[in-house]
Amino acid sequence: MAIPISYNIRNLKLRKGLTIMTALGIALTVTTAVFLMALLAGLKKAFMASGDPVNVLVMRKGSTAELSGGFDANLFPTLRTLPGIAKDAQGDPIASGEWVVVVVLPRKDGTGEVNVSVRGLMPAGLTLRPNARLIEGRWFTPGQREVVVGNSIHNRFSGANVGDNLDFAKGQWKVVGVFDSGGTAYDSEIWGDVNQIAADFDRQGGYASVYLRATDPVAADALKHRVSDDQRLKLEGTLETEYYEKQTSSGGAIKFIGTFVAIIMAIGSSFAAMNTMYAAVAYRAREIATLRIIGFSRPSILTSFVIEALLLSLLGAIVGIVLILPFNGVTTGIGNQLTFSETVFSLHLTWGVAMAAVIFAMIMGLLGGFAPAWHAARQDILTSLRA
């Protein structure tokens, strides 16, 4: 027969101080782990949401990022007339030749300089990114030294308000608008007219990338293959979603350090939990012997103490998750290995992260609780009663 769980809950309540301290220790470990997992979840969200499944990104064969190299502008008309490209209201194909360059801007809070991506695009480039909405001002005018800035840039850098001038490349750029693309990587970019940007960075006569908007996801896939398979073009098509998926790898360093830190802290916390559970067993030696005499079997004693350890760690997990709640949605930036510039994303506490945290805590509880529970179940009844 199993020992009721209420017995364990009452025991935890009885030794309040000890329970709270041990649970807090586990909670701190869980908080650290959750913090890192939420960072990674937020990063993934920022990049996953950036891609549009009907957009095809065309780059020179061999290029891994929009930043590396470019190709001749003469190829643009060929790309533009490929079948399967959606048409805008005027009946023109939605295709945009673009440049991405990196500039250094000082942070608003004065904590140093950060690399920022500047994207030069054609007016069609705005049409094929419908999730980028203006929240202030207007879009840039082609042929003018005007830029619009992403929401994260607007918030994090000085001189990024409508009416301000940003100083990069060969002079001043007037900020005429702020756009929001719903927390995606575009929010960390500055957009301007492609010809103006190319001229300022001495890159006329070519494009780093061409974006094509297909009529539907199937046409996008066909378009991608058509571009890649054409031997004369020497170009390669990628779905925009695939391109951004690859960029999530920039979280690699956080992932490595995070796993390392979480494991070491978990080992420390397991030892602490083990201590608490051994004390609980020692304290209740006579009680356990009595339970045995009443007729509870060794396995049920073992199970009962393991459950108590698991309850303790569950409490720790809940406290740990609650501790991280105020940080949910806090934004931070991360350097991207492919674009060399900073992408801003927010800490994102998902159900998956919370579940992983609970499982993580349970493992700690199990590691810490099993040996003491084993010890409790193996105790000699007579010696314990005499103690």
């Binding site: 041990t22 061999g62 590396s68 790898s249 030892f271 201590n275 350097g335």
Partner: protein, 383 residues
């Protein structure tokens, strides 16, 4: 029995508990020492003497813009400059795109690079062979070990920035002061294949005649090109490297919050143990008092006990950290930032001090209660 011996005996009388507490503190302090070492390497260490004499010049707009190659000879005329060499990031793919197969590849000038990287060593005949073979490459010894490269082997780097695949022959294997995870080849080889790359350089590495002249040289270089179409930004090698670390995110806050969490968790563990062990000995305390021990001496006994346990854990943690860091920093293929990291004596002292403080703080409250205990009540106490 002396008091020290009494403290030692009582600290370890419940062997299992003391062992678990010590281990728990050990792992926390291991993490704390690691974090402090990283902090030290990033923000306090000025780099070795050779590195402190080097500067890196890049395009003011960003690292991804090219500088004209003729800047090299102009920089050379600046007083205090001993040598200048161009370094261009190739960013090619070796074998496949997997991150473990990534290493840095630079196009440079074989005739002058070893005058600047004075802390690199390579046999003279290998240097000569490299200088004579335009399609030659020299590789880091750790990297050579990782891939099993030997002199005369051919490697292919698939270009991503440049539309060319480089076929290179290994002419030399160099040893840096720490693993560099890099290979160097002649930039002229790239320029021959890609006409657009001619007369351009990614960055310039400069050797100044003394570390004291570094800020002056940096200012002079930037002043020289201030009104040129391609303005420059020059900084010390250390500052240049730090800008990469800063791009990962707010590393300072990151490290500090981990340290804080670790110390607080250790404090909780230690306090729990002390509370348990002092409560168990309520009767003993009463006996000690009956024997004439004053409040102060009882307070001191228990605090000493906690500090002893915490210090043992701290010392073990420091030892583990020492071993782990020396293993990590010598492992081939470790990221560039962790390589060459050393635990310094001040870091160790600080870690031990933190451990001692944790022991002290954790014992104050339970020890105070014990010292205040009423003798008669304590004797009646039945656990």
């Amino acid at each position: 029995m002396t008091l020290t011996r009494f403290v030692t005996k009582s600290a370890f009388r419940n062997r299992r508990r003391s062992l678990l507490t010590v281990l728990s503190i050990t792992f926390s302090l291991l993490l704390l020492t690691l974090m402090m070492t990283i902090w030290h390497a990033f923000y306090i260490d000025k780099g070795d003497a050779e590195s402190a004499q080097r500067l890196i010049t890049r395009h003011r707009v960003s690292l991804t813009e090219w500088l004209p190659g003729f800047y090299r000879e102009k920089i050379r005329t600046i007083p205090g400059v001993v040598a200048v060499v161009p370094n261009s990031w190739f960013g090619g793919i070796y074998k496949d795109e997997k991150p473990e197969n990534f290493f840095a590849q630079f196009g440079t000038d074989p005739d002058e690079i070893f005058k600047i990287f004075t802390d690199f060593s390579m046999p003279a005949d290998q240097l000569l062979a490299w200088q004579r073979d335009r399609a030659g490459v020299i590789v880091d010894d750790q990297l050579a070990q990782k891939y099993g490269w030997k002199l005369g082997d051919r490697i292919v780097l698939k270009g991503t920035i440049y539309p060319v695949d480089l076929e290179l022959t290994i002419r030399g294997i160099y040893t840096g002061p720490q693993p560099t995870n890099s290979v160097y080849f002649n930039q002229k080889y790239v320029e021959e294949a890609v006409p657009g790359a001619k007369g351009k350089a990614g960055t310039f590495d400069i050797l100044a005649d003394s570390p004291d002249n570094v800020p002056k040289v940096a200012a002079a270089v930037d002043a020289m090109f201030r009104n040129a179409p391609e303005p420059t930004k020059t900084e010390s090698e250390k500052a240049f490297q730090l800008s990469f670390i800063n791009s990962i995110g707010n590393v300072k806050v990151f490290i500090l919050s981990i340290c804080f969490a670790v110390v607080f968790a250790t404090l909780l563990v230690s306090a729990t143990t002390m509370a348990m062990s002092i409560r168990e000995r309520t009767r003993e305390v009463a006996v000690l008092k009956t024997l004439g021990f004053t409040r102060q001496s009882i307070l001191r006994l228990y605090i000493g006990e906690a500090v002893l346990v915490a210090l043992t854990g701290g010392a073990l943690g420091c030892l583990l950290a020492l071993g782990l860091i020396s293993a990590l920093s010598h492992a081939p293929g470790m990221s560039l930032f962790l390589s060459g990291m050393k635990v310094t004596p001040p870091t160790l002292l600080l870690a031990i001090f933190v451990a001692g403080m944790v022991g002290l703080l954790s014992a104050i409250l339970p020890a105070y209660h014990a010292a205040k205990l009423d003798i008669v009540e304590g004797l009646r106490y039945i656990g």
